[in-house]
């Protein structure tokens, strides 16, 4: 009797293990009541976007009763990791958010992403409603793999009141910028500039723009490709020196805090200058009561780069190859002018849909930023999306080491060159 009991417990255990291994295979496209299921994965479990998308999904399901949408979301860095795991398994969601350029390229290389050229050509009315230039980050070998939705750019934001108080003009060159920071320091601002350097992506945004300014665009284009990258141009060392000079204005605390803390200091009026994304304008306005203006990263004296290139890249939606055909309709819904206008009104982030950013749903600062983004002569992707992650990591960690004085620009470039060499092989 005892033996029987024992044996049955053992069997029970075994069966539960085996069934756990099995259950993941049973993904079907339809629920029991015959509805089509779309798996939707985005990266905003935080407000206001979570509620916005939950609301939109509800709206869509009411309008399309034969479709059921499963939604899932995780935040930024975790999203990057999770989507990588999902793409390597067979559980890739049907529609999901993606960054452009190298992040998108990596996903596309898995051969599990749906090419969208046919879909875009079929419905010109929809596809041409999105700003043409923003598709670039999703195009690989003349095939489009994603639909851009949000647009962004980065600039120096300044506290207008503090600049006026100290008679500081908006700097037009890098030297003017440094002297503006110096006079702010004399005026009693211990850290005239602030950044949260524990967020390594913030460093990559700085470095990306600095390299745009000081290095010849042709050299950058060659170096940013893993197959041809050498990183031997002396401009890179100069660029790192510029970054080191800027970190000197950030104070000791910068290496111990994140970008959000830096933004809150700026919003509270404690710090006069912050390098931030246009997407953050609304957050600053909600967190504090400062009047802000912005200027592009100024031109560097003898820099060989493009003095006006704007750093910033769109984010958008990708569709999995195995997605049900209803997903495309949902994609169109997500990128419609109506959804886009409402999105920008709720969130403050600018979007790539024509006519969806108007003075009705954004404030004057964002409107100005929108014009800058859409009219920029050239846009450069975020540095960590533009180069191979192994190169970007050396620069990002190196940036932290520059700020704490552990390393020199020459040492960092040496490591970068080694890394570039092993990538070329």
């Amino acid at each position: 009797m005892k033996k029987m009991l024992l044996f049955s417990i053992f069997l029970l255990l075994l069966s539960s293990v085996l069934s756990a291994c099995n259950s993941s295979d049973e993904t079907t496209a339809a629920t029991e009541d015959g509805k089509v299921v779309i798996d939707f994965f985005h990266r905003w479990p935080n407000e206001p976007r979570k509620s916005f998308y939950d609301e939109k999904i509800k709206e869509y399901m009411e309008a399309n009763p034969d479709v059921h949408i499963n939604v899932n979301s995780v935040l930024n860095d975790s999203y990057k990791e999770k989507i990588k795991v999902l793409v390597s398994s067979d559980d890739l969601p049907d529609i999901f958010s993606s960054w452009s350029y190298s992040f998108a390229e990596n996903l596309v290389s898995s051969e599990k992403i749906m090419p969208l050229n046919d879909v875009l050509n079929e419905d010109k009315e929809w596809s041409s409603s999105i700003i043409e230039s923003q598709y670039d980050g999703f195009k690989f070998d003349d095939e489009t793999y994603g639909v851009p939705f949000t647009v962004d750019g980065k600039a120096f934001f300044y506290n207008k009141a503090i600049f006026e108080e100290n008679n500081i003009a908006v700097p037009k060159t890098y030297d003017e910028f440094i002297s503006a920071l110096d006079s702010l320091k004399q005026a009693g601002y211990e850290q005239p500039l602030v950044e949260g350097l524990t967020d390594t992506w913030a460093i990559s945004h700085y470095l990306g723009t600095i390299f745009e300014r000081v290095v010849d665009p042709a050299v950058l284009e060659k170096d940013y490709k893993a197959e041809t990258g050498e990183f031997t141009d002396p401009g890179y060392i100069k660029g790192l020196e510029i970054f080191k000079q800027l970190t000197a204005y950030m104070g000791d605390v910068s290496t111990a805090m994140d970008h959000e803390a830096a933004r809150n200091m700026f919003a509270a009026g404690e710090v006069p200058v912050l390098y931030m994304q246009f997407a953050e304008i609304k957050m600053v306005e909600e967190a504090g009561n400062v009047e802000i203006g912005f200027f592009d990263f100024p031109a560097v004296g003898d820099g060989k780069g493009d003095p006006t290139a704007l750093t910033g890249a769109p984010e958008g939606w990708m569709v999995s190859k195995t997605a049900p055909k209803e997903t495309i309709d949902f994609l169109k819904f997500l990128t419609s002018e109506e959804t886009a206008a409402e999105f920008t009104k709720t969130d403050g982030q600018l979007n790539a849909v024509k006519g969806a950013v108007t003075p009705d749903n954004v404030n004057a600062t964002s409107q100005e930023a929108y014009e800058l983004v859409t009219n920029a002569t050239s846009t450069a992707p975020w540095f960590d999306n533009a180069v191979n992650i192994n190169i970007a990591d050396v620069f990002m960690r190196g940036g932290q080491e520059l700020a704490t004085g552990q390393s020199t620009p020459q040492d960092i470039m040496k490591t970068v060159q080694q890394e570039a060499q092993s990538l070329r092989e």
């Binding site: 033996k3 053992f10 990588k84 290389s109 524990t198 290496t255 111990a256 805090m257 990591d393 552990q406």
Partner: protein, 294 residues
């Protein structure tokens, strides 16, 4: 004459754990070793055989050494604090003088063990916060503001700040193990020592320490292997930064694998971590000669 029968019941009892161990421990271990001879990313549909290239890279990588030194710092400080200091703490708590408040103190010391490490790490980011953190505010309050530094943002202090948090969290657990061991020591030994006129310190070194030797061995093993595997604390507090100043081997493995997509190299680091912890465990088992208790 009868062939020796395999006893059914004990075998059945062993089977489930054997099954789980082989599925979740031994199989991944072998697979990891296999993976470390290949180069692949999570995106790539195929693996490329590279032989010992990852291990060669491992030897040349300066960051590996820096990370290993951080692990060693972790181990040394943890053993000093968690094993020796916890033993003293346990002895004090078990002393007659504290008999009344000992249960309350035990709970207080054990509390951090029950809190999730993520919560603790987030809590300590507030403690270490350079502007409004508890630690720097306290230092300012007692007039030591020149000692206040951005603990997690400074390359020299970051790893120690991380280690300090670990000590705070783990000491209660080790203390608890020692308390149990001390309670099992026969009272007669202490009574005999009392009759001989031994003082408290004498009793500690001549009775308590030899009697808890086995527990001490287990605790050293727990802390040292724990130090080699440590991941959560540095990952959440500093992400290994600034630079690589608070990176440990596990953090490096994670960054290589999931951050930079070098799955093969990450597997090689994982193999290194396994070899290191196995070596440490073997040395300790040899040195302490456990199981041959006299």
């Amino acid at each position: 004459m009868i062939a020796r029968k395999i006893p059914l019941i004990p075998t059945l009892f062993l089977l489930p754990s054997l099954l789980f161990l082989s599925i979740f421990i031994y199989f991944p271990l072998v697979q990891n070793l296999y993976n470390s001879f290949f180069e692949f990313s999570v995106f790539s549909p195929t693996k490329e055989f590279v032989g010992f290239a990852s291990f060669q890279q491992l030897i040349q990588d300066k960051v590996i050494m820096a990370a290993f030194i951080n692990n060693v710092k972790y181990a040394v400080i943890s053993v000093l604090f968690q094993v020796f200091f916890a033993l003293i703490l346990a002895t004090i708590l078990e002393d007659k003088v504290f008999r009344r408040i000992a249960p309350a103190l035990r709970v207080i010391y054990f509390m951090p063990v029950m809190i999730s490490i993520s919560v603790i790490a987030l809590l300590f980011t507030f403690v270490y916060n350079p502007q409004m953190g508890l630690l720097n505010s306290f230092l300012e309050l007692i007039g030591l503001e020149n000692l206040a530094v951005p603990w997690l943002g400074n390359a020299t202090t970051a790893i120690y700040a991380v280690i300090a948090m670990s000590q705070w969290q783990s000491i209660g657990f080790i203390t608890m193990l020692f308390i149990v061991a001390i309670q099992k020591i026969p009272k007669e030994l202490y009574e005999a020592a009392d009759i001989d006129g031994a003082g408290k310190i004498r009793k500690f070194f001549n009775i308590t320490v030899p009697q808890v030797k086995e527990t001490m061995f287990v605790n050293v093993l727990i802390t040292v292997t724990g130090s080699i595997l440590v991941f959560n604390e540095p990952f959440i507090l500093t992400g290994g930064g600034p630079g690589f100043s608070s990176t440990t081997l596990s953090v490096l493995m994670y960054e290589q694998g999931f951050g930079k997509d070098n799955m093969g190299y990450a597997s090689a680091i994982a193999t290194l971590i396994f070899v290191l912890s196995a070596i440490f465990a073997l040395i300790q088992i040899r040195v302490s000669g456990t199981g041959k208790d006299d």
